[in-house]
């Protein structure tokens, strides 16, 4: 596992319904590692409060990235499964934190950095997906880069609205409904000077719509950047078996391969546990059946090669004989 930072909660802000902004600092107040705009922390969520497994949740950093003495995250509370929702309880845990509480997290990781050869940056966010884009906008304003931000949120439920307005002024557009968004995007995406890069973060359906509009208007893939979060809940999947290190383990419906391996006493490096970070990659061994890839990490070529899978989300597909079985090496 990667090194962890020890952090202490220095403030909490619940001004926006359902969203909590938390400020974290080193216990001795020392400077924290700086980060690239759009970076996130992976926060360790302990067992307890209905959570039977420890988890690690990624939260985008919204504050100052240069010489920071604090880290700021904003977290939307997702209803847990016990409450009839799909959340695993990580965000509910964040909403229960109090000033002075201690936690551990990875140092900032970047998977959504501004492209420095871009001559202009178009940022399109929805809901809590504004968080990495706020970090981008802060950096663009500081360095005098050309940027434009479009933020769609349910009226009264927008995060960092005043801060965005103050930072971006008339470069920021706020929208409150899907129809307005579609109309606005069709115009804005058609009018960007060559050299612009597009960055989008929000619910999966929203990002799909942004990418579809961009693609229709001729945007090449190299200019479109996504920060997946709030990964749509996956279905529990069919049961299968896995052969590993001379043993055969059962993977029931609703249990991930990663969990099954852990329950079998095997250790697999992992972080996000939702198919995003790429840590829990396991190699496929000879004799394996086909894989149902459900991650957001592997590219098409790697998937087609059938050489590996992400244990946290991907599963076995039934082979021609109906048997669903994977052979893996750790």
């Amino acid at each position: 596992m990667s090194a962890r930072l020890d952090l202490v909660v220095t403030s909490v802000d619940d001004a926006v319904p359902g969203i909590r902004s938390v400020t974290l600092a080193a216990p001795d107040g020392a400077a924290l590692p700086p980060y690239t705009p759009g970076s996130h922390l992976v926060v360790d969520v302990p067992v307890g409060g209905g959570r039977t497994r420890k988890a690690a949740n990624a939260y985008s950093l919204t504050g100052e990235s240069v010489h920071p003495t604090s880290y700021a995250i904003s977290v939307l509370r997702c209803a847990t499964t016990a409450e009839g929702g799909t959340g695993a309880g990580g965000s509910a845990w964040v909403h229960g934190l109090a000033v002075g509480d201690r936690l551990t997290a990875t140092p900032p990781r970047s998977a959504f950095a501004p492209v420095h050869v871009a001559t202009r940056h178009l940022l399109v966010g929805a809901g809590i997906g504004i968080t990495p884009l706020l970090s981008h906008l802060r950096s663009h304003v500081r360095w005098g880069r050309d940027a434009e931000l479009v933020y769609v949120f349910r009226d009264g439920h927008g995060a960092h609205v005043d801060e965005l307005k103050e930072l971006g002024g008339d470069r920021v557009t706020f929208l409150h409904d899907r129809a307005g968004l579609a109309e606005h995007l069709a115009v804005r995406l058609a009018e960007q000077p060559l050299g612009t890069h597009l960055y989008t973060c929000g619910p999966a359906g929203f990002m799909d719509a942004v990418v579809a509009t961009a693609t229709d208007l001729g945007w090449p893939a190299s200019r479109v950047h996504l920060e997946p979060f709030g990964v749509a809940a996956l279905d529990p999947g069919e049961p299968f078996t896995v052969g590993v290190a001379g043993r055969v383990l059962e993977v029931p419906s609703g249990t991930s391969l990663l969990e099954a391996l852990e329950d079998g006493g095997l250790s697999v490096p992992n972080l996000c546990r939702q198919g995003v970070c790429g840590e829990c990659r396991v190699e496929v061994a000879p004799g394996s059946g086909p894989v149902l890839h459900r991650d957001l990490y592997l590219d098409d070529a790697t998937r087609a090669s059938g050489s590996c899978l992400m244990a946290c989300v991907s599963r076995a597909l039934p082979a021609a004989d109906g048997r669903a079985h994977l052979e893996v090496t750790l």
Binding site: A118, A190, Q192, P193, L194, G218, A221
Partner: protein
Amino acid sequence: MVGMNQTSVPRWAWDETAPGAAPDPRGRTFTLLVLPGAAAVADRWAEAVAGRAVRRHEAADVPTAVAALHADLATARVGHRVLVAGTARECLAVRAAGVRAGLADDEMTFGVVSTADRAVWCVHCDATTVAPVAIDDVVACTGCARSLLVYPHVSRRTGEHLGFMVDAEQPGTAAEQPGTAGVAA
């Protein structure tokens, strides 16, 4: 020797049997740059993107093509694609101008009619030699007359191949190179 598929030299710049490229059908607008002898490729492409906004420029040489490219890019919006039909040397040179102007690799398509000529940049004297020479072969530098190995690397910024003295490790050869006075200073 490195495998050619692991080098910075695009396949179309050395392999004349490479399958011909086609315009990206997702492009909204196009610039079509046609260098001498490449009209057939350009005509085929023009047909493939018929009905779209295509600006076709017949260019006598690379500087003319680059000037036309710059003029089009000044007002281009994201969604624009650039199609270049010409020799590999011309395509690499226009690609370099495109890269410097901020175009991405997936916004440029190249149709190559010949891979015979290369531009080779001399690391010793900074001169560029254009000659019919293959990668890994040797060419005399027009600047300093050193025998340059044409290394399988092309600069994205200039479109020129990396050339360096092939016999640099043979004792005495450097002093015998003509035209090198003052080069090392």
